[in-house]
Symmetry: C2
DNA sequence: TTGTGTATATTCACTGGTCGGTATACATCA
DNA sequence: TGATGTATACCGACCAGTGAATATACACAA
């Protein structure tokens, strides 16, 4: 078909993305995805070997855009690394305040498929989270003064995923801000003891 | 039946608990629960109106014991509040290192049922998490010197639930330790700026 | 240009199986 | 006798995946 408008495979992935993300994996039938994509189920099974394949494709399609969004939010925020990371959380809080917000698809899919250890969707989730962690780690390394960049990146990830879970459970975006505040404090107190662990920005560029 | 050995209802809840927790809600059929409990499905439906009721009963049965376990771990650890909270995470890391460990049932159930907003299981999950948060908050309030006890309790909860999610995804308990370290640092830096935000324990009892 | 072959893409109708829940009858005991 | 509990067998809905046939597009030869 026309390559510019709706290549069938992409339309199916898009439909799967909307449905899987908003209702969950097991709650959405293959028939529902096919109907949403305007395609017969048999056509869907022409493009994907199984529902599991479709799930994996859905997550793989979200990996890069998700990371890029984080990087954009980071770049758009002024201040030191702590403030920039906090900016990510503030943007997430804004997203999470929409009633249709459904948290992190990678996390939720992994939870739904937890009894299938080697499932490609779980591998995709792991890879995605690692990619974000590595990106944060590289930022803290460039920062230079940070004592344990890897540990710090992990702790920010813990706050991030914790916020996804808690905000989804309580439907209260203020937890996202609390997570951002915690992340910023952890980053600032990870800098050499120079500055007091207070509001004022810590050193922005100070190589060892 | 005999009240001391296996009251049917409790046996069903116990069976549901094992299955739901280890495989997930949607992955476990009512028939499977009935069989595990050594009871016919009709008997199960005599004691519970629906599968949803059973799910709620499963979570309600876990609320108090879970909190009690946290409180025991907290009490058993020596040191200041930061060290005691870190002790909880260390104990959780030990639990999480067992290959059969499956994270937090409240969180996972809430994720599985996310498209049923008012579901009793979600309410149970919310209540449980709030209860832990309130308990932490009361500890920080008793500590006296903590600046914003509620905010701090929320941040510890964020790290806790983040650790549940991330450890489950990566199957790497060291994230649990990283979360404990972050929690301890947040608690110590929440005390009035007296001490440097460093390794040495901050003041243990110092009323305002 | 027309005819033929082939790979891609799509459809309709169907299967085998599972699941939540129920109808009905039977058992036990106060 | 009536309340409580158990057993067997079943229903209707749904669901992942399939078989067989068909449509489209493009290659290349006559």
């Amino acid at each position: 078909m026309s390559d510019t408008i709706p290549p069938t495979r992409e339309r199916i992935i898009a439909a799967a993305g909307k449905l899987f993300h908003s209702e969950g994996i097991r709650a959405v039938s293959v028939d529902a995805v096919a109907e949403k994509a305007g395609v017969t189920k048999r056509t869907l099974y022409y493009h994907f070997r199984s529902k599991d394949d479709l799930i994996a494709a859905y997550l793989e399609a979200r990996d890069q855009p998700n990371l890029a969004l984080f990087q954009r939010w980071f770049a758009e925020t002024d201040g030191d690394a702590a403030a920039k990371v906090e900016g990510i959380f503030r943007n997430l809080a804004r997203s999470a305040s929409h009633p249709k917000w459904k948290g992190c698809g990678f996390l939720r899919t992994s939870v739904e498929l937890i009894n299938l250890p080697g499932h490609p969707a779980i591998l995709a989730g792991r890879a995605h989270k690692k990619r974000i962690e590595d990106w944060l780690c590289s930022i803290f390394e460039e920062e230079g003064a940070v004592k344990e960049p890897r540990q710090l990146a992990r702790q920010v990830i813990l706050l991030l995923d914790g916020a996804f879970a808690v905000v989804l459970l309580h439907r209260d975006p203020s937890y996202m801000e609390a997570a951002g505040d915690a992340a910023a404090r952890l980053i600032r107190t990870s800098l050499p003891k120079r500055d007091a662990p207070d509001v004022g920005r810590a050193c922005t560029a100070l190589d060892p």
